[in-house]
Symmetry: C2
Subunit: 229 residues, 2 copies
Amino acid sequence: MKKISLSNNCVACPYRWKYLNLLQDEDIKAIQGNCLNINFKKGETICKQGTNVTHALYLAKGMVKLYLEGKKSLILKVIKQGQYIDLQTLFGDFVYRYSVSAAEDSMVCMINADFFLKTAKGNPDFLFELTNTISTSTNYVYKKINDLGRKQLRGRIADALLYFSEEIYESETFDLNFTRKEIAELSAMSTENAVRLLTELKKEGIISVEGRHFKVLQIDLLRKISEIG
Amino acid sequence: MKKISLSNNCVACPYRWKYLNLLQDEDIKAIQGNCLNINFKKGETICKQGTNVTHALYLAKGMVKLYLEGKKSLILKVIKQGQYIDLQTLFGDFVYRYSVSAAEDSMVCMINADFFLKTAKGNPDFLFELTNTISTSTNYVYKKINDLGRKQLRGRIADALLYFSEEIYESETFDLNFTRKEIAELSAMSTENAVRLLTELKKEGIISVEGRHFKVLQIDLLRKISEIG
DNA sequence: CGCGAGCTTGACGTTGTTCAACTAGAGTGG
DNA sequence: CCACTCTAGTTGAACAACGTCAAGCTCGCG
């Protein structure tokens, strides 16, 4: 069951977006009046591919995954707290190109879409940072195309490990909250091959794996594997 | 040899961006003073992966391809006249993630990057449309990931044909100005397989092909092939 | 007429998926 | 506390998908 509540103090919120301060306090308070806080448990769906955007979604706490649905899923990326989830949809054609679900218990701020866009339009500096955010995220997607379109399995699993280590957990050791199946979906391969390649990398001493506990031992080699594909 | 000239009448330019009119004439004239027109012959490189953005690039006339370099190229997309080429780089981290070259003789307007950004920031409505443009283009890239990450060759070649027919040439018959190798690079497959699949689709009566002259005969079937992957 | 680039086809080897079987651990109900 | 079941993870073997190699073909151009 989701716990829903009205936002009560966006101005002083410790989880607020780092560029929210580009707005005047009165604008922030107005947003607050149009904002709901919703709690999602791990695994719950936050938004669904093919539906229309009605709110700007800001991930205040937790972690979510963006993925494409179909016979088999493809995980586009993982988003950590402190980021918007759906800006390019909000500023695009309002149709979600992907689904989003909680990778751990998460809290999402839902801000009325029209109101959010109006506020953005009235605050160029704020809008400018939103635009930068969208652009940076687009560039990530280009990298993803490069990875999927031109690398073999070994390169792709290396990409996934580097992604977790460098982007998501920001540490050479991490406790992954994703299954082998999800690693495979992130790398666009079968679960079996993801497993095989992980044990291979483990045997070669490039990583160590114990269940969900990972450690990158030779990051240079991992980068090289990623490069040569 | 490139023909370079100063822009001389952006206000009345028949090739100008459809949302340029959101700027005041004085702003447009200021842009004009910071804008060069450059002609590229087919095949010439317009910008190079890994380099820094110094200008906003607007494709006034012609057609270009965006592609990732490497041992083998991967064509991300084709851009037709009337669109900006590098907005997400300009608003991102200023490093080109892809190379661009002319698919036919083209004219590009190069507007000083700092000046362009400053102007955008000072004109929220204009900036808003730029943001929308970037967002829409991001959504296209998600589709591309879906195509490359989850479909087999047959689905991917169908995607390429639909892309040319529906997005680029906007006609069921078209004279392609790309080689078989480039079709393959757009679909992330070997040239040989691109050829094989095209003749296959031809034999099945789904398309007709004579050299570079294409005709989509059964678009429903093509869409179905694209869907099932 | 000869040359080279783009195109085409078949044979073959590699890469990656699918299927099937098995293990370990976590939760459940008697 | 012990069967029972369910899910995640693992491994091997068969099979399909795809790329590479080699050869030949066509057409435009010098």
